[in-house]
Amino acid sequence: MFADIFINPWVDMVEAPDFLMQVLWEGLVSGILYALIALGFVLIFRSSRIFNFAQGIMVVFAALTLVGLFAMGIPAWISVGLTLVVMFVLAVTIERVVLRPLVGQPDIILFMATIGITLFLIGFGETIFGGENKVMITEELGIPTGDTVLEPFGGLLILQHLDITVVVVATLLVLALLAFLNYTQMGRAIRALGDDHQAALSVGISLQTIWVLVWFIAGIIALVTGIAWGARAGVSFALEVIAYKALPVLMLGGLESITGAIVGGLMIGILEKLFEIYWGQPLLGGNTETWFAFVLALIVLLFRPQGLFGERIIERV
């Protein structure tokens, strides 16, 4: 038992370095997607203190819209454009109908409202697109589908082209977002709101514009993640679950931190894969990915209650 837990996994890793690399690679791919979703959360949380539970369903909704539009005979790339329009309309609607009347309410009420949005979008999506599983239009979007086989250490390492594309696109998107946040006026306004609401408002930053903007950015992120995960697992409402995966990432990295979202995402993606392959499957019957990230984040939180990169919590009476 002791050996099973503390020795054998490491021995396995050293003995089959190619397999280890395969595991790390797959962890990296999902990690970067977690980071991307978590980034959507962080942007909304920083600028409005809203814990946006609807991020997951936005992923599904964006993917369904894309597939649905394509099924209506619209060319793939135009469908992408139209989906972005839909996500923008969604952002405006959410800001108008839900968020604006709830300004100033306690955090938990806003959180519940986003769960309300989630339910509404689930029902809406199922009514319009139907609940069945759909196939993502991978080829039509020009995403390569083959794979490259490398042979490091005399073993096998299979890199799906799809995964490579995902990593490249997600990395570019993260970099673009960082550049946007750091070097544009709008981006600085978002960060200003995150630092101090009232100060930001007093220098003339429009809360409403920023809210629409961050929800739209979250929509773009949702579309990219939707395409990426949809291409791997099909488009269905089960995709919503990946948003839950972004939650421990947020805990680990800290709710306010952009760096935290990225580092936390990669960490959780890789560690949960390693744990699943080397400990979960042989010892615990597998499928540990559903909870490992949460437990890991919980343990980290016990030592750092604000997450690895979160703002230090100062409490006063």
Partner: protein, 409 residues
């Protein structure tokens, strides 16, 4: 007028500390109890028992458990579903290991298991606060559901992986399992729920309840005035999980009859959280109101949508609502608030529906299901906007108005 308390003097401490010091409240409650204990069981059909009465009571109980934790002690939890599962599995193991155990005793005992697990997952709350804690409770949610799936001992190594409720007897009457009558199940649920509600009312207005409220309002300040935060938070977790666990046991034994692990997955947690929030955090009665709305509404919608009248009148209603929508849209552009926005949302849906009607389309049950989900999501947002403090607060306002009615001031 109707709720006037003038003339109701309290001349002793006992009278001052009565559960319902206002005579009208006690009277209303009496009427409700008569309905619950006598009239409903005599008149309800099998369908009403199974889709309305029993689930509403069970969900109200679960929401009450959550409300103790979130509404009174201020610790947001998203793991309710899993704790219900712990109660259900504990009860299942108990009745299969000790078949001669009285079912009600088994159900009440099963809460202690979830209370224990609740305390374990409550320990992080001493350091972690707010949303961080909410996500931390998700760890309990996902881990426990995973455990229900993987630990075969829990479901007695069934091939199906689900727990099946056996036929259980009490004084020669079947009280659970396929052979039990709905009335018997209803009475048992009602008995347990009544018992725990009385317990909750008294707990929350006693010393413990005040400690919880102080912790909720500001835990550091509470600590400074000498409240032991660890005791306060952990008792809240324990009692809340106990009630939730009992609700879980009732959920499987008195209502569903069988359960797979994924029944206790996160949608159940959210459903209970909705009930607690829509009903009103920090209230006991709100849980019942919330449960009636969240559990009862879909059933009512289904029944209405299934009738012929609805199908025929839908078209005319659609034209009417489309008109309202047009007006609504214009005023929305003129920025006159959320209500109009809500009307638009509704109208757009009706437009779609009306169009489908003209195409000779009839709604099937799957679609009703989807529309229900959508309506419930919309309603949650709607209620949060009109009254963030829940249905309980609405009732309180009505009561205030009734005190001076029919005079305006």
């Amino acid at each position: 007028m109707l709720y006037r308390t003038a003339g109701q003097f309290k001349t002793s401490y006992v009278a001052d500390q009565a559960l319902f010091p206002v005579r009208q409240d006690a009277f209303l409650l009496g009427i409700l109890l008569v309905f619950g204990w006598v009239i409903f069981p005599l008149t309800a059909s099998e369908f009403t028992f199974q889709t309305l009465l029993i689930p509403i009571l069970i969900y109200a109980l679960a929401a009450m458990g959550l409300n103790i934790l979130t509404g009174f002690a201020g610790q947001l939890s998203l793991g309710t579903g899993a704790f219900m599962g712990v109660g259900a599995y504990a009860c299942y193991k108990m009745v299969t290991i000790f078949p001669e155990l009285n079912p009600i005793v088994a159900i009440l005992l099963s809460g202690f298991f979830s209370a224990g697990i609740g305390v374990v997952f409550g320990i992080p709350s001493l350091r972690i606060k707010g949303f961080y804690l909410a996500i931390a409770t998700l760890a309990a949610q996902f881990f426990l559901v995973w455990l229900f799936e993987k630990w075969a001992w829990l479901y007695n190594y069934n091939a199906s992986g689900a727990i099946q409720v056996p036929n259980l007897e009490m004084f020669g009457i079947f009280v659970s399992g396929p052979q039990a009558a709905s009335v018997t199940e209803y009475y048992i649920v009602l008995f347990v729920v009544t018992l725990l509600t009385i317990l909750c009312i008294n707990l929350t207005r006693g010393n413990l309840g005040r400690t919880w409220k102080a912790t909720r309002d500001m835990d550091i300040a509470a600590e400074l005035i000498g409240i032991n935060l660890m005791k306060s938070k952990l008792t809240a977790f324990a009692i809340s999980s106990y009630i939730v666990g009992v609700a879980g046991a009732l959920y499987v034994f008195m209502w569903k009859g069988a359960a797979e692990p994924n029944v206790f997955d996160i949608p159940l947690s959210f459903q209970v959280l909705f009930i607690a929030i829509i009903g009103g955090l920090g209230s006991i009665m709100g849980n019942y109101l919330g449960a009636i709305l969240i559990v009862g509404l879909p059933v009512v919608l289904n029944v209405i949508a299934g009738t012929q009248v609805f199908q025929m009148s839908a078209l005319s209603a659609f034209i009417l609502i489309a008109l309202v929508a047009a007006i609504g849209f214009l005023s929305w552009v003129a920025r006159s608030g959320w209500a109009i926005g809500a009307v638009i949302g509704f109208a757009v849906l009706t437009l779609i529906y009306g169009y489908a009607q003209t195409q000779g389309f009839r709604i099937d049950s799957a679609l009703i299901e989807h529309i229900n989900v959508m309506i419930i999501g919309g309603l949650i947002i709607f209620f949060l906007i009109i009254e963030p403090h829940g249905l309980n607060q609405l009732w309180r306002l009505i009561r205030e108005k009734l005190i001076i009615w029919p005079f305006p001031h």
